[in-house]
């Protein structure tokens, strides 16, 4: 892997720089480090940073830009319509990688790979042996394009190696040149470290920007193919990969909200009462056992809840409730997913509410007891009203978590998009359909795949809105007791 070698080369230049810079600084002070502005190791670190950081940054940028540039160059070779250009590009890339892998595993020699002829050899079969599955057949044009990709990638790789190592050497040389006894090495190093720290914290912003950008561009593509009114107000969800699908959001949203509602119906009373009991009634020993036990529920991965829904809760509800009552025969149902999700949310509601109830000052309780109220009257009439904004915030956060939850509904709710009131029927949610539309081989130019990005953006907007609302309520209505 040449990338590793470039990385290793830059790193060894950096290490070399460290020792050279340190030695040079000590030499410039003729061995008496008291004359130096900074400690000798700072001169070394300065040279190390100068040799590595700019070079590695350029390498990362290069790697991010390279595929796009190469695709652009190759796209000019092919006469294809705009609508499946992405697909063709992905196929070409896979073909090029397949040939590379065949060379790497020794299936064919490097020279033979360059002389491949689509007319005479069955390239698909050849590549299938080395584990590359191609979607479409290989024509001479696509083969030529793939060969061009390989050539461009190879020369780009060489160019990158040259540029990066040269930059590393240049940085090293400049840093060494600057290394004299009066050079403020510590200040330089600290500025560089601060810049790196800022870079690290900006990754959080970059992630958000990446999330929004990736979904917005694809969603716009989707709305170019499918009218947005039909998406937001459509009552039918019938995707068909031959085209002419109905992709209405409402049935999915209905399933999502219905399941969320049932989950909250379970989680809010149980969580709230558990929090009240633990904050107001439980002794220290009971609390020290019960509180962690309930919080374990929050640490269990959602796939485990999904398995629980699929194997235990679903069949149980079907056999003991739905089937005898004549309400349905499906193990996957709104009720199954809602119940299990409710269990998952208990610790969210309870531990947040617990903190909030504990934050209500003791003087309020004492005042209430002094007026003759019982403990439960104090809770109901003094503590809960005082803690209400926080509790509402906790419930909203739990709702946002329920709306975005995926594995439980994938395994427990079913896949049929339905607008129905019967909780024992299988329904589906936004997240289930995102998974459904994007798993497996997908054609990223069809509305059936792109709709997942629109669903994702909708989901992102709803959960973000709920989170912000929760924070706002907590901040706006928080009682100040001091």
């Amino acid at each position: 892997m040449p990338l590793i070698w470039i990385f290793a080369a830059v790193l060894s230049l950096g290490v070399l720089g460290y020792f050279l810079g340190r030695a040079r600084a000590i030499a410039s002070a003729s061995g008496d480090i008291r004359i130096l502005h900074s400690l000798p190791s700072y001169y070394g670190t300065n040279a190390f940073l100068a040799a590595t950081v700019p070079a590695l940054l350029v390498m990362v940028l290069w790697l991010m830009i390279q595929p796009g540039v190469i695709s652009g160059r190759v796209a000019m070779m092919l006469e294809t319509g705009a609508e499946n250009a992405d697909l063709v590009q992905a196929d070409l890339r896979r073909l090029a990688q397949g040939i590379d892998r065949a060379v790497a595993t020794g299936e064919i020699s490097a020279t033979a790979a360059r002389a491949l002829d689509a007319e005479t050899t069955d390239i698909r079969a050849l590549l299938a042996e080395s584990g590359a599955a191609l979607g479409t057949g290989v024509t001479p044009e696509t083969l030529a394009a793939a060969q061009r990709i390989r050539a461009l990638t190879r020369s780009a790789g060489l160019a990158m190696a040259g540029v990066v190592v040269a930059l590393s050497g240049l940085g090293l040389a400049l840093a060494l040149k600057a290394t004299t006894r009066d050079f403020r090495a510590r200040n330089a190093v600290e500025r560089a470290v601060l810049a790196l720290l800022i870079l690290a914290s900006s990754i959080a912003i970059l992630t958000t920007v990446g999330i929004v950008l990736s979904m917005v561009t694809e969603t716009l593509d989707f709305f170019a193919l499918y009218p947005w009114r039909d998406f937001f107000f459509g009552l039918e969800w019938i995707p068909s990969f031959e085209g002419g699908s109905d992709l209405g959001l409402l049935p999915l949203l209905w399933g999502t909200l219905y399941i969320t509602f049932i989950a909250l119906l379970v989680a809010v009373p149980v969580g709230l009462f558990a929090a009240i009991y633990m904050a107001e009634y439980a002794g220290r020993r009971f609390r020290s056992v019960a509180k962690p036990a309930i919080e374990v529920l929050a640490g269990i991965p959602t796939i485990v809840y999904g398995l629980f829904a699929l194997v235990t809760v679903g069949p149980m509800l079907r056999d003991y409730f739905a089937a005898p009552l004549g309400l349905g025969t499906s193990a996957a149902s709104v009720m199954t997913a809602g119940l299990v999700m409710g269990i998952m949310l208990i610790p969210f509601v309870s531990s947040l509410s617990d903190d909030i109830i504990n934050a209500v000052p003791q003087s309020l309780r004492d005042g209430s007891y002094g007026l003759g109220a019982t403990q439960s009257e104090t809770v109901k009439q003094v503590i809960l009203p005082a803690a209400l904004p926080g509790i509402v915030g906790a419930i909203l956060l739990a709702a946002s978590r329920a709306i975005g939850e995926t594995m439980i509904v994938v395994m427990g709710a079913g896949a049929a998009a339905r607008l129905s009131l019967n909780p024992f029927e299988a329904m589906t949610t936004v997240t289930v359909k995102i998974v459904g539309q994007l798993t497996g081989d997908t054609d990223f130019s069809s509305p059936e795949a792109l709709v997942a990005f629109a669903l994702g953006l909708t989901l992102f907007a709803i959960t973000l809105g709920l989170n912000i609302l929760a924070l706002y309520i907590v901040r706006r209505y928080r009682e100040q007791y001091e």
């Binding site: 912003i205 398995l307 994007l438």
Partner: protein
Amino acid sequence: MTAAKSLLAADAHTRRRNAAETRFRAYGLAAVLVGIGALVLLLTTILGNGAGAFRQTYITIPVTLNADRLDPAGNRDPAEMATVTTFGYAPMLAQALQQHLQAQGIAMEGIGPRDLMAIISQEAPAQIRAMVLQNPDLLDRTLELEMLAGGRIDGYFKGRVTLQSAERDANVSPAQLVLAQAMADAGMIETRFNWAFLTGSDASGQRPEAAGLGVAILGSLYMMLVVLVLALPIGVAAAVYLEEFAPKNRLTDVIEVNISNLAAVPSIVFGILGLAIFINFAGLPQSAPVVGGLVLTLMTLPTIIIATRAALRAVPPSIRAAALGLGASKMQSVFHHVLPLAAPGILTGTIIGLAQALGETAPLLLIGMVAFVRDFPAAPPEGLFDPASALPVQVYNWTQRADPAFVERAAGATLVLLGLLVTMNLIAVMLRRRFERRW
């Protein structure tokens, strides 16, 4: 006016209030018990379903590896012997089983040759073929070979399949189970601990008995490696900047709001991000641990940043003041004094973040980790780009298969996952106990 009341005897109103008090208290206790009961039910059903996956039924019979059939060319060249597919081995095993049963005097009532073969796993011919190809000298010898029993036979010895359920099952007949029981009584069949479940690779839908978790465990390990290498330095650097250096201004406000929001973004959205940016835009391969690792890194960052900031805040200002007073620069005071003192808290937060990432499934579905992967990925760093599975995804994958024996495998895989999570959290708790300092 009512008559004067005794303070010692409760009147109706007081009794009502006291009853309400008792009721309220009972509701609270009931809620706590419901929570704990749900936890217990969850764990016991998973344990009940999954414990069987750690045991496996094996058949041991003497088999003569017939050279005429397995090496038609007769030159013991593995390359030529490879032309004999598993279909060449299967009849040989059936014959060996039949002969051995006859020699032992075990009756085979109502059992045809196909039924007999179904007692042995479909995986067994492949295993023996691999063994013979590796060591051609075994040919023409009679060996005591140990093979996997078929999925239903395995289920019978674990109590999952019974004589009653076999009558309704198209894949197994009661006669086969009776025969299997007779074989077990004769010592040919044994059920014991199943290492292959932890080390083997996945198997196709007809062979639940051969499916193992090896590739998934390795894939998860690779992803955790990527997360650790990326998320720990970046997260700590971001937290140090925000907590120690950042001026109070718009930009840092935006960053802080961003981080708390990222912590609440649904995990599936990160999957969409990974698919759009890392796979479609940057052209990284599907199903690769490196992509999974990158996505999980972005998800884990907020956890690590928040934990690190809390740990930094817990270091008292007097430490910083003392360092500055002795002439250290701000950067030196942070990196030489504050950060080492915050290290236990940072480590604990990192382990908890890793544990979360280990159990995450939804984003991995979108980046293609659901694909059926049998081959182990190579050693890192190249192996990070090879297709692999992940533990939680493997659980999901197995639940989607038709054979009910895969439910046992899925629950077993869940137990492995939960075991890893418990271990990680225990380490975090121990670190906290051991190094926690009250200032």
